[in-house]
């Protein structure tokens, strides 16, 4: 690919190492978003329902299933 200057506009960028903390943070963030969006306060019994009510409009407007 290096010897063909015009065949592909995409020049191969070199690979970047993604540290484990980035994947962990990504999973944690998605899990948190899921908890906040979900109705039942099963996991965060005290504040789960409250957070859900507070962010309720975002749950609807971002296309997540609700009532």
């Amino acid at each position: 690919m290096t010897s063909v200057p015009h065949a592909h506009p995409a020049t191969a960028a070199s690979r970047i190492a993604v540290p484990a903390w980035a994947w962990a943070l990504a999973l944690l963030g998605l899990f948190g978003l899921y908890l906040i969006a979900q109705d039942n306060g099963a996991v965060l019994a005290s504040m789960g329902g409250t957070a859900h009510e507070f962010f309720h409009d975002a749950r609807h407007s971002l296309g997540m299933p609700c009532h």
Binding site: P5, A7, H8, P9, A10, T11, A12, A13, S14, R15, I16, A17, V18, P19, A22, W23, L25, A26, G29, L30, G32, L33, I36, Q38, D39, G49, T50, E53, F54, F55, H56, D57, A58, R59, H60, S61, L62, G63, M64, P65, C66, H67
Partner: protein, 255 residues
């Protein structure tokens, strides 16, 4: 000579931390923009649905969603902040995925590559579920089927992500065999269309029947507003994140 001029990205790969912080900053901007969109457009489409809900509960007197925990004003703030939060979290996930696939994405600059990945993200995580399970304003969905609908939503997202990975693998394989850009593009479009058709047909449909007292305009105004809000969110992740990332990696010889 053109090799040099055509290569705006620095040849030295940027550190992941640099890309991460810039993409997440882009996600914050994207979330704020989408949050403003939600206040200006989506909330306006939610209002008639809430009126409908109120009229219903006034007639029935009984089960409700517990809306009274927060005032409408507080819920507007929550809708804005929830959208901002979603922008930041999506950007955190986006950054990790971007770091992993950056060297395979088309485009010579980080702006181009980030924009491409954001377009894929919009297609898979916003457009696909909007086609399979269109968003519904409050009072339209059946509370009894929310578990089923959440499962359908999750399955749709999962299928979309798998399909996107498979299309990516196909593109890489074709390129490795020396297939040009036109052939690769056609193959990617056809494969995406087949994947879309499979998801729409094979994943179960929304079990809900929209109640007769809900005007179609209330539902569709909301659906379009919701899709617009998601479009602003992903455009922000792509354009703001791409711009921020680009500024860190652009080679000194250009501009």
């Amino acid at each position: 000579m053109t090799e040099v001029l055509d290569r705006p990205s620095t040849t030295q790969p940027p550190g992941f931390g640099t890309l991460f912080s810039r993409l997440v900053a882009g996600g914050l901007v994207a979330g704020a923009l989408a949050g403003v969109f939600s206040l200006l457009v989506t909330e306006r489409a939610i209002a008639p649905a809430l009126d409908l809900e109120e009229a219903r509960t006034a007639g029935e007197a009984g089960h409700d969603h517990g809306e009274e925990l927060f005032s409408r004003g507080e819920q507007l703030v929550g809708g804005f902040l929830g959208t901002v939060l979603a922008g930041v979290v999506l950007a955190v996930v986006f950054a990790a995925v971007y770091g992993a696939v950056r060297h395979r994405l088309p485009g010579r600059t980080d702006f181009a590559r980030v924009t491409v990945l954001a377009a894929v993200g919009f297609a898979v995580l916003a457009l696909l579920p909007a086609l399979k399970l269109p968003a519904s304003p409050p009072a339209v969905g059946d509370p009894d089927t929310v578990g089923t609908r959440t499962a359908i939503y999750g399955a749709t997202l999962l299928c979309g992500v798998v399909a996107a990975v498979l299309v990516g693998v196909l593109v890489q394989a074709l390129r490795a065999r020396g297939v040009g850009v036109p052939g690769t593009t056609v193959a990617a479009v056809v494969a995406s269309a087949v994947a879309l058709a499979l998801v729409l047909v094979l994943v179960p449909d929304n079990p809900d029947v929209i109640a007769a007292d809900v005007p179609a305009a209330v539902v569709w105004d909301f659906r379009l507003a919701s899709l617009g809000q998601l479009a602003v969110l992903w455009a922000g992740i792509g354009l703001a994140g791409g711009w921020f990332a680009d500024r860190a990696t652009r080679g000194p010889r250009v501009r």
